[in-house]
Amino acid sequence: MLASAAALPVLLGTASCRSEDLFTGPDPLVGPPRPAPDVVTLQAVIAAEHIMIQLYRAAIGANRAGARAHGLEPLLAEHEQHLVRLRARLLVPAGAQASPSPSPGAASAPGAPRGRVTIARLRTAERASATGLVQRLGPVEPALAQLFASIAASDVTHVTALGG
């Protein structure tokens, strides 16, 4: 008799035993295991980088001449590089959906920043990103900590580049 998931409750009910008495691995009745802490942290950092990119795209889209004067496009390009490298650290199981990637001209897409994106707002976002990344360093594995620290250092140089 195959111990399928459907048959298991009946089997357990009649035998008065628990699934952990039969299996040494993850309990199939509980559901998929939760992501490892590093994965959760990485997903949060990726989401934050998405938001940063949307901020820059909104600022550039609203005022191209101003964006050029403030050198926003090279900074945006660096954030896009951050996102590529962060996402490369995340292994997405076959069939699962990776975190959504922003497309060009997505200023009006769901999740796009509200209100005007000023240079001051970008500076604040860069500072917050750097601070947040350093706060996440402690528990993650060394290579990921180094990536976070490098991106944080990049963010801080952006603050200066934006006149901070």
Binding site: P74, P139, A149, S150, S154
Partner: protein, 142 residues
């Protein structure tokens, strides 16, 4: 456990100290070919590197190790003979310091990771100043 953590941290701190010593030497060379506000900036950065060297020396001693000694001479990556090459040297030195502190970020002690990350931010900012541009991944290979 604490002893093992300290033992694991010392090599990274020693590497950072070596980078700071090299920067101190290099800024002495670069400063001689700079003038005006650039020379003032180089002098300030030289002072900051001396302070960082003192901090790292104290940290290494506190962990029970002997700090690596500065070398009497450091081979420069290229000839320095004018403002442009002096500026390039300053950026090169800061990149080296940033890479060294990246090594500190990899240790297991969370406080040292934070220390290394914050030190990276300082050297990365100086590198961006001398280079005239930012980088996506300071301290990391491209």
């Amino acid at each position: 456990m604490a002893a093992a953590t300290a033992a694991g941290s010392v090599p990274a701190l020693q590497a950072a100290l070596a980078a700071e010593d090299a920067a101190i030497f290099g800024y002495g060379v670069a400063g001689a070919h700079l003038s005006g506000s650039s020379q003032s900036a180089a002098e300030q950065d030289w002072t900051r590197h001396n302070e960082a060297r003192d901090t790292l020396t104290a940290m290494i001693l506190a962990l029970g190790a002997t700090p690596v000694a500065a070398l009497p001479f450091y081979r420069l990556p290229f000839a320095v003979h004018d403002t442009a090459s002096a500026t390039a040297l300053a950026a090169y030195l800061e990149d080296g310091v940033t890479r060294a502190y990246l090594g500190v970020v990899a240790v297991s002690d969370p406080r040292l990771r934070t220390f290394g990350a914050l030190a990276m931010q300082v050297s990365a900012q100086r590198a961006a100043f001398w280079r005239g541009s930012t980088q996506a991944f300071p301290g990391l290979e491209p």
